[in-house]
């Protein structure tokens, strides 16, 4: 048995290059439950991160009692992330929402579904009757519902109401992944496969603390590192993450300087001749321009901008430039930072220069942060159109109009769909008057929370919130709808490497709580949305029929699902899209022939200027004659919208711990996870702490021009000048008038010009000491928040309550 709080990654199963990753089945059962007590195991996949690990839920007497990994699945080979091992316990929490709530006399009171839905419908109709009624209605959704939920929501919004105001919290998490994939390769969709870990000889983690955000992927990487012929490892991260400690080369770059880094690395690959001239000539556009843009970024200049030694940059270039099979993974250190899309395209550039795509081991993950973020994007429940279609391409709009049997004019396509920050801006200015928030918590997760709270509190804004629990956001709602969650409803979702999994219903939701799909179908029925022949617009009635409807919409597009059925998904492993008559078993890697989705009739975008976000026209795109080639895209480095000053001399970065997900609505209700990381903390470098006379555990105040928080200090090997605060801790589970602790009290309102992803990783702050320590900071000792070796801090453990089994299964 392993305490997976103390050891989040479990025992190693080393393997060599090209060998299959050994199977290790992880299992956790509630106290006192033995394997033989389990009535049935119900298949699903992980919903507390984006890795898409295939799981089975243990059910006994109609209740969840545990979880185990699915041995045969291609993604995880039986392994389970610690959040998934313990997180399911939250769903039985006594404070689950059981009945709809409506606001009466300023208070939320319980009601029935009819009353709650009728209030929503009445307000919807009232707004729709006004001139430009479509523009008064907005939707803000999630990366944590199922494909069927999102597709239904997308059709309601885009063909029923006809509003462009629909986005997901995926805007905060992986909008840049999508934007970078579209910009370089023409369409969203990860080129790589998780099996590239098995074949690669070098791995580069770009702003990606994979050890804490995708633990199972990290287990796979670690198993390769412990086996024969291990891959070399590069980590770009200002924090001393487990990845950084394991890495052969660690670049703790100054936050906000990623573009200078990738430009210098591209320059070095070109200067050293470490690029594939034939691949570049045959499969890319823009080499000369790239070469000109990166020319000034010598290693010395980048060293100065990024604040890392030039020799380490040279070592990184050598690692990237000399292997045969390079695997890269990119996440929030790039996506939520300055020049996000440009920096992420910079990683794409390195792979294009080296021809490192579409072969075993030569892979690229522009990572997701949430379990079903990929589906939010594919189905168009965010600022995209369904089926990875291009809002600026009239043929794509006609295709959607045919699938839905509506007039093309109904579908909002006169400009890109609104992004989250724009939706909130319209609400702030009073033109959006109805906002339906599903499965997300913007009152804790959006930047500059003071402003978000003022917007949600506006009298003229009708707010609907659909969630599992009361949250910071439900407190601003006019109607609260109790949702059913994972394990309580059926549906599919898709991992980073395009693996589609089916999640079956294992138990009933509590009280009157309903599946998200059922809520949306009820709304569509009550609103009586019709197609152009007078038939119901939403003709499906359950998850499987919704999936079949989505398949029609995906047909012929890069994310083709037509070859997948629920029945096939009940097999041993998930299936990767595209899966169609031409590729009946799915598709492991995209772009194996070096042909990209950039042709005008295929592409999801005509492209943008990376500096300003200016959109290119169809004519401008066609004039480049993409002919299936990928775009090499580069811009000059520009400093962040906020840089340190005398008044605010430090740089704040925000992020996660392995034990929590988002605003902890689920993980805080799992005792093992909550105990491992119970409270906010503030990471400081030793020199900065000494300057401020701060010792381990002292309470510090962190202030930006926008707000302030307090928390105990953890002194770590973080880059000097950097301050880290985890973003998980809001106010829903604290009493009274204590000091604020949400990282987003501090963050700035600014976003990337192309992906519109907010900049969470760069805010200027000052830190002051407030009170003496009463003990060490409550930060985990396991990952990037590990204390310095000389500090006396008890290790984070879960003890007996966290003991899980890990069984090696011979294949």
């Amino acid at each position: 048995m392993t305490d997976r709080i103390a050891d989040p990654w479990g025992p190693r199963t080393p393997y060599g290059r090209g060998e299959p990753w050994p199977v290790r089945v992880d299992r956790f059962l509630a106290d006192g439950v033995r394997a033989e007590d389990v009535d049935r195991w119900v298949q699903t996949a992980s919903t507390l991160h984006s890795n898409g690990d295939a799981l089975e839920l243990a059910v006994r007497d109609g209740r969840l009692v545990g979880v185990r990994g699915r041995a045969g699945d291609r993604v995880n080979h039986g392994r389970v992330d610690p959040k998934d091992l313990y997180g399911w316990q939250a769903f039985g929490s006594p404070d689950r929402l059981r009945r709809p709530l409506v606001r009466e006399g300023g208070r939320l009171v319980e009601t029935d579904w009819d009353e709650a839905m009728e209030r929503i419908v009445a307000r919807s109709r009232e707004e729709l009757e006004q001139p430009g009624g479509w523009g008064r209605i907005g939707f803000y959704t999630s990366g944590q519902m199922f494909l069927e939920d999102y597709y239904t929501l997308a059709v309601i919004g885009k063909a029923g109401i006809g509003t462009p105001h629909m986005d997901g919290n995926t805007r905060l998490c992986t909008a840049t992944a999508a934007a970078a994939l579209k910009a370089s390769f023409g369409a969203d969709g990860q080129p790589g496969s998780y099996r590239d870990v098995d074949h690669c000889d070098a791995i580069a983690c770009w702003g990606h603390n994979v050890a804490e955000t995708q633990t199972v992927l990290w287990m796979r990487m670690l198993d390769r590192r412990r086996g024969p012929d291990p891959p070399r490892l590069l980590a770009v991260d200002p924090r001393p993450t487990s990845v950084a400690k394991e890495a052969d080369v660690h670049l703790p770059v100054r936050s906000g300087t990623n573009v200078a880094l990738v430009n210098a690395l591209a320059r070095e690959l070109i200067a050293k001749g470490w690029y594939d001239e034939d691949y570049v000539a045959a499969h890319t556009i823009g080499f000369e321009r790239l070469r000109d843009v990166v020319e000034p970024y010598t290693l010395a200049r980048a060293a100065e901008i990024c604040g890392v030694p030039a020799r380490d940059l040279g070592a990184a270039a050598e690692l990237l430039g000399t292997g045969e099979r390079l695997l890269s993974t990119v996440l929030q250190g790039f996506y939520q930072s300055n020049q996000a899309t440009a920096a992420s395209c910079g990683v794409n550039n390195l792979h294009l220069l080296r021809g490192m795509l579409g072969r075993p081991g030569a892979g690229l993950y522009q990572m997701n942060g949430q379990p079903s973020a990929q589906n939010t994007r594919e189905t168009g429940a965010d600022g995209d159109l369904p089926g990875l279609r291009n809002w600026d391409n009239p043929d794509h709009i006609r295709q959607l109009a045919e699938v839905w049997n509506v007039e093309p004019a109904v579908i909002p396509h006169w400009a890109p769909p609104s992004h989250a920050m724009e939706i909130f801006r319209h609400a702030e200015q009073g033109s959006i008057r109805f906002l339906w928030i599903t499965a997300t918590n913007p009152a804790a997760s959006l930047p500059e929370l003071g402003r978000i709270r003022r917007i949600l509190a506006r009298d003229d804004l009708f707010v609907v919130v659909q969630d599992l629990f009361r949250t910071e956001t439900t407190e601003y709602a006019d109607v609260v709808l109790p949702g059913a969650t994972w394990g309580e409803k059926q549906g599919t979702f898709t991992s980073v490497d395009r693996t589609v999994h089916l999640s079956e219903k294992a138990v009933d939701p509590p009280g009157d709580a309903r599946a998200d799909l059922d809520i949306l179908l009820d709304y569509a029925r009550r609103m009586d949305f019709r197609d152009r022949d007078g038939a119901p617009l939403i003709w499906w009635h359950d998850p499987e029929s919704a999936f079949e409807a989505w398949k029609r919409c995906s047909a012929g597009r890069p994310c083709d699902y037509t070859g997948i059925t629920y029945e096939r998904l009940r097999g041993a492993t998930g299936i990767q899209w595209p899966c169609s008559a031409e590729a009946p078993d799915g598709t492991e890697r995209l772009y194996t022939d070096g042909r990209f989705s950039t042709d005008p009739d295929v592409t999801e975008t005509y492209g943008h200027d990376l500096k300003t976000g200016a959109a290119f026209t169809a004519e401008e795109h066609a004039a480049k004659h993409p002919d299936g080639r990928a775009f090499l895209l580069a811009v000059d480095y520009r400093p962040s919208p906020e840089v340190p000053s005398d008044e605010f001399p430090l740089l704040l970065t925000t992020g996660r711990t392995v034990y929590h997900f988002h605003t902890r609505t689920r993980t805080a209700r799992a005792p093992q996870l909550q105990a491992a990381a119970p409270e906010v903390w503030v990471e400081l470098a030793p020199g900065d702490a000494a300057d401020l006379a701060v010792e381990e555990g002292d309470v510090v105040r962190v202030e930006s021009p926008r707000g302030a928080i307090e928390g105990p200090a953890r002194i770590t090997g973080i880059r000097p000048g950097a301050v880290f605060v985890p973003f998980h801790y809001g106010s829903w589970d604290v009493d009274g008038d204590g000091a604020p602790r949400a990282a987003n009290e501090l963050t700035i309102t600014a976003w990337d010009p192309v992906s519109k992803q907010p900049v969470f990783k760069v805010a200027a702050v000052r830190v002051t000491r407030v009170a003496a320590a009463t003990g060490p900071a409550p930060a985990p000792t396991t990952g990037a928040s590990a204390p310095l070796p000389e500090a006396r801090v008890a290790p984070t453990t879960g003890a007996a309550a966290a003991e899980a089994s890990s069984e090696r299964v011979e294949g």
């Binding site: 430009g132 702030e428 200015q429 033109s431 200027d609 300003t612 290119f616 309102t749 600014a750 976003w751």
Partner: protein, 152 residues
């Protein structure tokens, strides 16, 4: 040779555009993208004006008196609110258009004058100006339906 006048016109147009970007960035700071992008484009216009400086001086030595009515006034100050933002971006578009066509004409003249240095400056600045127009168009297209049809 009248080229100096056109260089002067363009120099002043870039300076005026830079100052209009700055004023509009400040006036619409709550529209965070407008604030950040306009501030960045103001710097771009500053750089254009700076790069034109030496050429204006060089051709200025051969300059006859400036003809009347060469300069136009396109910007009368920033406005407030969503409709004000749309109108302000519209003004910026017209001002950037003036720069854009002036760059084209200066390029023609630079070719006639066989001035390769000036041709080089024009090529870089003209592309950036075209991109400013592209951004303004993108941003206005995004804003217009909500402002003109939805907002009360």
């Amino acid at each position: 040779m009248q080229l100096a006048h056109y260089l002067g016109l363009l120099h002043r147009a870039e300076e005026e555009l830079a100052s209009a970007y700055r004023e509009i960035a400040r006036a619409h700071a709550d529209d965070a993208d407008v604030f950040h992008v306009c501030a960045m484009l103001a710097e771009e216009c500053d750089a254009h004006a700076e790069r034109l400086g030496p050429f204006a001086a060089r051709y200025g030595e051969e300059e006859p008196d400036e003809p009347e009515r060469l300069h136009s006034e396109l910007f009368g100050g920033a406005r407030g609110g969503p409709l004000g933002l749309l109108r302000d971006l519209h003004d910026l578009y017209l001002m950037a258009t003036e720069c854009d066509i002036a760059w084209t004409l200066v390029e023609q003249a630079a070719q006639g004058a066989r001035d390769e240095d000036l041709c080089g400056v024009v090529a870089g600045c003209e592309e950036e100006t075209a991109n400013q127009l592209r951004w303004l168009r993108t941003r206005m297209k995004q804003a217009a339906p909500q402002v003109l049809v939805v907002a009360g």
